[in-house]
Symmetry: none
Subunit: 265 residues, 2 copies
DNA sequence: TTGACCTGTAAAAATCCTGTGAACGCAGGC
DNA sequence: GCCTGCGTTCACAGGATTTTTACAGGTCAA
């Protein structure tokens, strides 16, 4: 698919100089990241759907090894990179054997840190592809990455590949308004030509197919002069009222966990 | 989980001291390895079915980057670890971005090198130990791994080796859509060239042979623009009706794996 | 309210994808 | 050497999908 898939990263480090410099670069690269000055509970990490975790052992104190062990055990698909000060061979070997994917010594160059994070994510992604169900549920929609297809109560929307990728992209950044150029760039993989209406046409096709299977919901909203935003909303008459009630709960949980924790590039 | 899965490693290095010390340890750990003082052609690497490749760039000379690029491109599933003398950040970043999985500076401790090789190789879910001697039953099809052959009510489909491997892969992840590139990568062992139609051709051969012995079932489904999915479905006229009734329920029994009690002499 | 500029919509045109049959080359067995 | 089985490649036809084009309707700012 796309060469540069966006990476979701969490950083556990209290070295503000290092974190600042790194963040500047990761943001420029379009990564989504969250920084914390202390340990993040593994349960929270699960909810974040991360690609990688960068951690400085010194902020973890005595708990460091326990924490690493728990994280590696609980999240075998998460790329874990330790980036810390002085360390012995024995420590590094222990960490790596425990499930850490890479171990970098400080001081280090942020570009190399990023390259190593990319390398780890690349490797993880390859193995995980398929093993993980990767099903996202929004509104009454189920988006199944392993099937390249979306469903409503078990029935396929019969999306073509492009349609699916577009839907997946939009749903991935639910609530965010995406410009046409950005959409095109990420789905088609190259820059949009001036005057190209492909995005509009595919949005219409998507809307048609969504409407067909899920008539009482609106998923894609137009932002005049800007682009589109994916946000499931129950609408219509009486049906909508109940649906809305049902929708509220998971809606909030979802967006809180996934989005509010991350800075938007 | 996996205690000590044996690792197949190739080492390209002419630093005899380093290689000797390392080899002693890898042998003690039960790894299989081949050492070479000069570049090994990528085609040969394919045939070796390696887990990882450890390479010192200095023995590759000017060809180093080209070689790395070719290897990483052709064998995306191979763990590539560079272990070399002095290097700049830019070089390491270039290597890692190119597909190298880890980059270690010499001098280094052999134990750490091994731990890093393990970390890179840690991901083999595909080593299906159970399948080796197992029989999978799907639809009215029996796939016998110990015979490299599939049967319908005792009659062989006369699959060739490749056909069998393709079928086995597909059946292994029943219900999942696999992209052509992924199929090729896993059956042929290296990256698919752009425009290669081998997968399609083998799918056709498989379908022919499946149809011949099991006419009232459809096994392989095409997903336009994506790839193929294995999912046995009873179809057709009167035969299909009964078959369908049978097919719906034993969904669970379908994927049952029967382990034969005896190894083949 | 008007006019310029966007967006929704439908259908034609162009492109791409898959199924298929056959030719080719290679290796192993006779 | 000759034959046979196997894997690869090519070419083409029929469909499915994507892109382009045209026009109608909507939106916004002056």
């Amino acid at each position: 698919m796309n060469p540069q898939q966006t990476i979701r990263l969490a950083v556990i480090d209290d070295d503000s100089g290092f974190v600042t410099v790194l963040s500047k670069r990761t943001e420029a690269a379009g990564w989504q990241q969250r920084v914390s000055g202390s340990a993040i509970p593994p349960e929270e990490l699960v909810a974040m759907k991360l690609n990688a975790l960068l951690v400085d052992l010194s902020v973890l104190g005595d708990e460091a090894w326990d924490y690493l062990a728990r994280v590696c055990d609980l999240l075998p698909d998460l790329g874990v990179i330790v980036c810390t000060g002085r360390s012995t061979v024995a420590q590094r070997v222990r960490g790596l054997r425990m499930g850490v994917d890479d171990w970098i010594g400080k001081p280090c160059h942020p570009e190399e840190v990023m390259a190593r994070i990319e390398a780890v994510s690349r490797r993880r992604r390859r193995t995980r592809a398929g093993v993980e169900s990767g099903t996202v549920v929004v509104g009454e929609l189920e988006i199944r990455a392993d099937q390249f297809q979306a469903f409503v109560s078990g029935e396929s929307l019969d999306l073509t590949r492009r349609e699916f990728e577009l839907l997946q992209l939009l749903a991935d950044v639910k609530g965010q308004v995406l410009e046409r150029e950005a959409i095109y760039q990420r789905v088609w993989g190259y820059a949009m030509a001036h005057g190209d209406r492909s995005v509009d046409v595919f949005i219409r096709k998507l809307r048609q197919k969504l409407e067909k299977r899920s008539p009482s919901w609106r998923y894609i909203h137009t932002h005049f002069g800007v682009g589109y935003r994916f946000d499931p909303e129950a609408v219509g008459g009486k049906v909508a009222a109940e649906a809305a009630a049902l929708a509220d709960e998971p809606e909030i949980a979802d967006s809180q966990v996934v989005h509010s924790s991350f800075t938007v590039a």
